[in-house]
Symmetry: C2
Subunit: 200 residues, 2 copies
Amino acid sequence: MFVLSGPSGAGKNTLLNAVLERVPEVDYSVSATTRPSRPGEIHGRNYFFLSPERFRQGVEAGEFLEWTEFCGHYYGTPRRFIDERLAEGKSVIMDVDIQGAAQIKRQLPQVVSVFLLPPSMAVLHQRLLARATEGAEAIRRRLNKALLEVKALTDYDYVVVNEDLDLAVERMKAIISAERHRVGRMDCQRIIDQVTRGNV
Amino acid sequence: MFVLSGPSGAGKNTLLNAVLERVPEVDYSVSATTRPSRPGEIHGRNYFFLSPERFRQGVEAGEFLEWTEFCGHYYGTPRRFIDERLAEGKSVIMDVDIQGAAQIKRQLPQVVSVFLLPPSMAVLHQRLLARATEGAEAIRRRLNKALLEVKALTDYDYVVVNEDLDLAVERMKAIISAERHRVGRMDCQRIIDQVTRGNV
């Protein structure tokens, strides 16, 4: 199970889409949110778009692995969706903010956390402006948040600087592949049996 | 710093050569040995071929990070060679047996250890026969040793099964790349300064 965090505009969505396309054994953990959908976003694929009432019900029922509030909207990770994917033997990758990542790490220490950084704050600012979905005030708040967030990278397992998308995708793929070959995550007895079976 | 172990015939040398060719930031740690050189092996590249007297002097002088004796020959890892490469900012990969890997892990816990497995003992036997550099008795000893060694894989950080060379090379490359992006191995303060410099 992988967690990807990073400031808005670091390129998380683009990176995630590229990784999901190229690594078939990884599924995206669709988050729930109460924020309005942006053009092109699909319910059940980008987010589960919930009403504030429905979201609060879910929080009370313990349906979320983590949840947070930002800019007046709720964001949360539905527990059932992830459990179903893991039961299928898939890896799941989640896009959560640093508070969410910390909440998840406390509950599931085996989660691998990756922090995606923009090459600089100037680039981040440009990307947020280019997105053109938010006003100057919202962008200013996101930049201020980003400045604080960058310092949290020391709490993560890996850090990837997104100066070039293809390079960042390759690094993310390497992290996923490597972690799937960690001795602690593999059924070592099965491997030993398989290798030594029917011999000597 | 990476350590690669695995039974003789698991394909360590072939894998290492392919990795060294494709990953420029990694250097091979040339071991010292008192065994006779095989056809094509070059002193200072495949091994430092030493006399037993010279090897024993080195052991007494603390020149080896680890050393061991197998089939009547000594094998050791020269400390100076590795220190020089690390000082250049390179990663170093070492081919050592399980006792050597355990010795190195005790001295340098940050070392990343990878265990390379053959797909089966039958395949291992075929590979040792095909190599045709040793007699039946030496091959039998190597196979017996391999059977015991396989169980040591749980002491390693990663396990790679070498059923296909290209796949094994890709996995090894992924492990090296991922480990170079571990937060614990990076200068996080430098990264934070670089990203936040000159803004807001």
